[in-house]
């Protein structure tokens, strides 16, 4: 199995000199292709910063990030934008769906950004909505959806462009247990079916335990990397 993400000695420092704050310090680990990884830590531990750097939203102060054999820490801004558009899907705790747009247009957004149009776009959007069981709400505005439906819509938006990696930042944090369970099933399902690598940022130990690999972070450092025991899922 190939290496999807290689994080080598990255550090992130905010501010300058006396007022500087170290968010990440010499973080190194590797995520195999198609794996599911949980980045676990309390709030303020640096787990979100790590995700931002791994997904190309932020740059590390030091170290290198190689994703799918591309060193994104040395890319130009334009290349990183295009890299995210082509290879990354995002799911957020607060959903971030466009409330005034229809479900269709919410899901179409990444394809518009990636310059995929015409019949291909339409077919992909409808397929993605069907996969999250929102095919009866194609022309409904996102504002009219429930919390669980909004997160399913966000998942459809994340998978529509068949990304190599899906980053999920506390995907069940704003949902009740039953709805959260459904979202987890969908995420792990796509991880297996599409072969997309799944990176989940969470402080929920139960969710983390369902991932193949757990990266524990405290005060910007990796404290432990654990692997799921076979058969327990």
């Amino acid at each position: 199995m190939g290496k999807m993400i290689q994080v080598t000695g990255i550090g992130k420092v905010y501010g300058k000199k006396e007022q500087s704050f170290t968010a990440l310090d010499n973080v190194t680990f590797t995520v195999p292709e198609g794996a599911s990884v949980a980045i676990v830590g309390k709030s303020g531990s640096g787990k979100s910063t790590l995700m931002h750097i791994m997904s190309g939203l932020d740059r590390p102060t030091s170290g290198a990030v190689v994703v799918d054999e591309q060193d994104i820490s040395s890319m130009k801004a334009k290349e990183i934008d295009s890299f995210r558009a082509q290879k990354i899907g995002f799911i957020f705790q607060s959903f971030f769906v466009q409330a005034n747009e229809t479900c269709y247009n919410n899901v179409a957004l990444p394809l518009e950004i990636a310059l995929i149009g015409g019949a291909k776009r339409k077919q992909r959007v409808l397929t993605a909505l069907k996969q999250v069981e929102l095919d009866d709400k194609v022309n409904q505005k996102a504002a009219n959806l429930s919390g669980g439906q909004k997160q399913r819509l966000a998942i459809a938006r994340a998978i529509v462009n068949v990304p190599r990696i899906i980053f999920a930042d506390e995907p069940t944090g704003n949902l009740d247990t039953v709805t959260g369970e459904k979202i987890e099933q969908l995420l792990f399902g796509f991880n297996r079916k599409l072969g997309s690598t799944l990176v989940i940022v969470t402080h929920d130990d139960d969710l983390a335990a369902r991932c193949d690999m757990q990266v524990h972070i405290k005060d910007g450092r990796i404290t432990e990397i654990t692997h799921r025991k076979a058969g327990k899922k």
Partner: protein
Amino acid sequence: MKIRDSFRRAGRSLRNAKARTLLTSLAIAVGAFTLTMSIAAGTGARQYADKLIKSNVDPQSIYITKEKMNDSSATMGPGGLKEYREDALQYGGMTYKTLNEEDINKVRSIAGVERVLPTYFISAKYVSFEKIAGKKFTADVTTYDPTVLAQVASGTLPPLGQQIGTDEIVMPESFAEKLGIASKDMVGTTITLRLSKVANNPSEAEIQSLMLSGRFDEIEKRLTPETKDVPLKIRAVSAKSSTSFSASSALFISDKKADELSEFLTKGTEQYKKYVSATVTAKKDVDPATVKTDIEKRDMFAMTAKDLQGLIFNIVNLLQGIVAGFGVLALIASVFGIINTQYISVLERTREIGLMKALGMRGRHVRRLFQYEAAWIGLLGGVIGALLAWGIGALINPWLSSIMSIGENRILVFELLPIAGLIVALMVVAMLAGWFPARKAAKLDPIEALRTE
């Protein structure tokens, strides 16, 4: 993101804030309305002026005076103390330097000049009509211009370029209406002009010497104006026209008759063979502009039909510019409206912008999205303003035409192309205004924008 997709997304997000979009675009609509009106009024005025010139002035004709009309030496305005000049004529409260016979002959000798027609002032004491016995009227008498063919209500006019007969006269339809007689009944009847020649005022010494010699009849003769009745046959009644100046307000006689009557009226006076102005006609294949240069070389001032058109167009352009200026002011105000609205829009949609950037949308594409929103506002405002102007124009046009008494001519003329151009220009202006907030959107940091806490 493709341009088409950006345009659609921009349009949709505007539809989600209908009231705000409408209000912002109304500010542009005010500017668009004023500018559309100024374009329409300018087009209308130019078209009307063009018609006026075409139906009153032969393109080959050149109007000449001794000096420029608004020259400081030709003191304008009534009243006041003016220096007496031998070669100047008083007319309508203004003093003009005059053209004399020598000047006229100089112009006649220029190559390319077809004919020179001095402007005669024939003031009839009164006119009387054969049809209405015993009544006296006053009316202006002018020379018939054979280079412009007027419409006739009754009777016939000679073909273009030919004068009417010496004993013939053309009267306007409005006179017939005033008299209450049908135009066709007037044709063939006689109009009599009563001319009255003001004698040179005899000096006191002259009167004294005549008194001493007992020649009282001579004194009376010197003091009584000499009069003459000129009967003329009505050849035609010219139709009312909203574009022809004189066709509706004066009696026309032939140039020969005018010369003869002028001779009678001015002989022995200071005004004899002196003319305020003259009309020169250039030969058909000669450019009036070259004739104009030749005339000006001979120390006279000349104005071609083109100059006249330019003069009128200058005035129209100036007035149009003033109206357009107000429109531009309104537009400048609306530009700040757009900037303000779009800034609020960017603030409101911080997360949406962050999301789009996280999903890999380029900063300049984000900027384009917001600029297109501004362009939509410009388009909406432009269309509303133009439609409003067009609608109101259609309503008030007949009323405007009637108070300006220009008949069927329209003072507001709406043409599609300049209005479409205006709307496109407004979209560009709106896009430029939207640039500042759009740049703010483009520079937004997605991590900051997506922070939930």
